[in-house]
Amino acid sequence: MNEPFLLILGSIVSNATPLVIASIGETITERAGVVNLSLDGSIMLSAMAGFVAAYAAANGGSPTELSLLIGVLVAMAAGALVALIVAVGGIALRRDQVAVGFVLTLLTADLAQFLGQSYTRIPGPTVGQWVLPVLGDLPVVGPVLFRHNIFVYISFVLIFACWFWLFRTRSGLALRAVGERPEAAFARGVDVNRLRYVYTVLGGALVGLAGAAYSLGIKPGWATPPPMRGDGWIALAIVIFGGWHPFRVVLGAYLFAALRAVSTAIQRTPDIQISPVLLNLLPWILMIATLVAVSSGAIERLMRLLPGSFQRWTRNVLRSDPPAALGTRFDAG
């Protein structure tokens, strides 16, 4: 395969990484029945916080690795904090999660721009490329998957960890039950609201990590307007598109990044004259088309023609129902 094409594939994987991490985080949160709508703002806030912390640490004389680690941790803490507000608002204060999340989106987005205004367009510490030994040298796969910064590798691990946790562990059973039917989880001795706190904060920390992946890796630094503006909404849409299943969610994230790459490439080609606005619509149109196809029953009818065991598998993969208790409150007793 030719070199430039592999490079494009590689850059798609790299560019998709923050989306992958953020949508995995939101998947975990929503699987527990909480919807954290603050993604767009909290990604910006954590990107800014992570960059500023790493920048300050480096200026204070810390070695680059330590500064970056501090930056990542601060970003995750920022994401977790915003998520905690959503959880407290939705669970303890019994407010509508959607309303709390939405207000927080606007608030944190503005907060990020306000607090970060003296740190725009300055160079800071950046996570460098790390070619994985052996794997990085493989043909085709190497340049596409294994010549990236560490955020990309973390996202790979997260995808499988999330899947494993959800579908292969007892804790994952409890996590899904809390989002599907909290009454049943309660009857089996699960502390429903405690789990919801835990997974909302964990999901928020991953959203924070996605922010750090931007400002310390993929789109280094901070700027106004923030370069990742709008990506939080995209991550939220990808979770729906992905049917709350980590593999499909990730597929959605990569698909989205690929379409973006295509649209950029087309815009750079002088021979093709298509409005960039129209091109930017492409991913959304595809997403809506997929959602309609999945929920229309056409696929259900198609599946009945398949043999039984295969049916069960495809139904699981194509499942598009949200967690049944998503966004609802639970009171024991």
Binding site: L173, R176, E180, R181, A184, A187, R312
Partner: protein, 492 residues
């Protein structure tokens, strides 16, 4: 396992749901827990199974005081409950549901599931999603799950609604085996007296939060009804009826919902007639009433209001023709929580695009006075007591409709409020309005009806002259023994 309940009290606001319940359940027996809706039996069972704590009182298991909170803790003490709507996770597979809440490993769980299922003849595919199981299979899964957790007492809440006769036989065999062979204590909460007669060794009866009776089986349906309702069936004077033309007619109507079906119902309601619908909760009265007002579309047959065929028309069309309905769930179906009284009146009466709030407020004030509703126009509906809500519902109804279809119009009301409601209803009836109502209160049915329809599992028996009813006959009929009755005929 022996379970003793000592002086159990539980209050929900002003309602004393369990009032000093004192009872002992012996192991190896199947005990029926009877009582009308709101008698407190579900509350008691939920306390026993850990779903809610008692305000005071003790639970003593095999001679030792058991103090637990939460269903999981109750299971540790050996008490498991099968809810009417089984508490499983529909998105999980059978095996996932079985494992969830236990400490079993995958392979061990698979073997246990197969072993217990086989003992009772259940067929549960471990990899099937629970959302694709029937209610009976979901019950089986819950029973198997609770048995795997070593419960020694099993509480079942209305387990026979929505399952087939064969599945019911299988369930009963299972319960008998658990009681006889394993010495388990089985508590059966049921409205269906035939189930209680078929299965139970003993019954306890709750009424208005108190334990009011118990009996050793075998008992007849009639004896059970007497235990449940008491004997205060005093006959009352009924105002004479002036019957007019037929104004509502069902012709060969078939109705179906998730739990039951009514077949080939013919019914003609005449102006000025009062028809009472009797029966244990959920026997088909609600379905029939909703069919009369267009809220449930008949599977077959026709519905006429006056001479016009209204089959398949929406409730709005019925309402325009003068058919009004009020549902038992006042705040769920009839009123809108979060809206003020004025807003309710405006919603019912205002026809213009813009609401004339002055007019609406004046109207509300006069309606509140006319209907003796204790509340202010700006109060939210949920701030009113049940009686006042019911009176407001009455105020919102058309002044002189052709037919009023009322689901349990006096449920939960004190005697005075109920009497007030009936004075209003009878006054409208003088003007030719027909009334179709359902009630849990047999006194009320006998006192106010011209005709009574008794519902039992979707079958209907008609008593053409309500005044000829006796307690024995009603008891038999409510329990489903239509064959022996001589005071009327089967309608379906």
């Amino acid at each position: 396992m022996q379970i003793e309940l000592r002086h159990i009290h539980k209050r929900f606001g002003p309602v004393h749901a369990n009032n000093d319940i004192d009872v002992t359940f012996q192991g190896g027996r199947i005990i029926g827990v009877l009582g009308e809706n709101g008698a407190g039996k579900s509350t008691l069972m939920k306390i026993l199974a850990g779903y809610q704590p008692a305000d005071s009182g003790d639970i003593i298991i095999d001679g030792r005081v058991a103090d637990y909170r939460g269903p999981q803790a109750a299971i540790h003490y050996g008490i498991g409950m099968l809810q009417q709507d089984p508490l499983d996770v529909p998105a999980f597979t059978v095996l996932e549901n079985f494992i969830f809440g236990s400490r079993m490993r995958h392979t061990e769980a698979r073997a246990r599931l197969r072993e217990i299922s086989q003992r009772f003849g259940f067929s549960l595919d471990p990899d099937m999603p629970v959302s694709q199981l029937s209610i009976a299979q979901r019950q089986q899964l819950e029973i198997v799950r609770l048995l795997a957790l070593n419960v020694r007492a099993l509480i079942l809440d209305e387990p026979t609604t929505g399952i087939s006769a064969e599945q019911k036989a299988l369930l009963f065999d299972t319960l008998r085996s658990l009681a006889r062979n394993d010495g388990m204590t089985v508590l059966l909460v049921s409205h269906k007296l035939e189930d209680v007669i078929a299965l139970c060794d003993e019954v306890v009866v709750l009424r208005a939060g108190r334990l009011t009776g118990r009996g050793e089986m075998p008992l007849t349906t009639q004896e059970l009804v007497r235990l449940m309702f008491g004997q205060s069936f005093a006959m009352q004077e009924r105002p004479a009826a002036h019957l007019g033309d037929v104004i509502l007619r069902l012709e060969g109507v078939h109705l179906r919902d998730k739990r039951l079906s009514i077949e080939h119902l013919n019914l003609a309601v005449r102006a000025g007639e009062v028809i009472g619908l009797a029966g244990l909760d959920g026997s088909g009265q609600g379905l029939a009433m909703r069919a009369c007002v267009g809220l449930v579309k008949p599977v077959a047959g026709r519905v006429f209001v006056g001479n016009s065929d209204m089959t398949g028309k929406p409730y709005r069309a019925f309402l325009r023709r003068g058919v009004a309905f009020s549902a038992a769930g006042r705040l769920e179906e009839g009123l809108v929580a979060g809206l003020s009284l004025t807003e309710h009146v405006a919603l019912a009466n205002e026809r213009d695009m813009l609401v004339n709030w002055d007019r609406a407020r004046r109207q509300t004030a006069s309606q509140l006075a006319a209907y003796n509703v204790r509340g202010r126009p700006d109060d939210l509906i949920e701030q009113l007591s049940g009686g006042n809500q019911q009176r407001l519902l009455m105020a919102l109804m058309p002044e002189q409709p052709l037919v009023m279809v009322l689901e349990q119009p006096t449920r939960g009301l004190d005697v005075d409020s109920a009497a007030w409601i009936w004075r209003q209803l009878l006054a409208r009836r003088e003007g030719g309005t027909a009334i179709v109502f359902s009630s849990d209160d047999l006194d009320e049915l006998v006192a106010y009806s011209d005709r009574i329809l008794v519902f039992y599992a979707g079958q209907i028996f008609e008593i053409p002259d309500a005044s000829a009813t006796t307690i024995d006959q009603l008891g038999h009929l409510i329990g489903g023994e239509f064959e022996m009755a001589t005071i009327g005929k089967r309608l379906t």
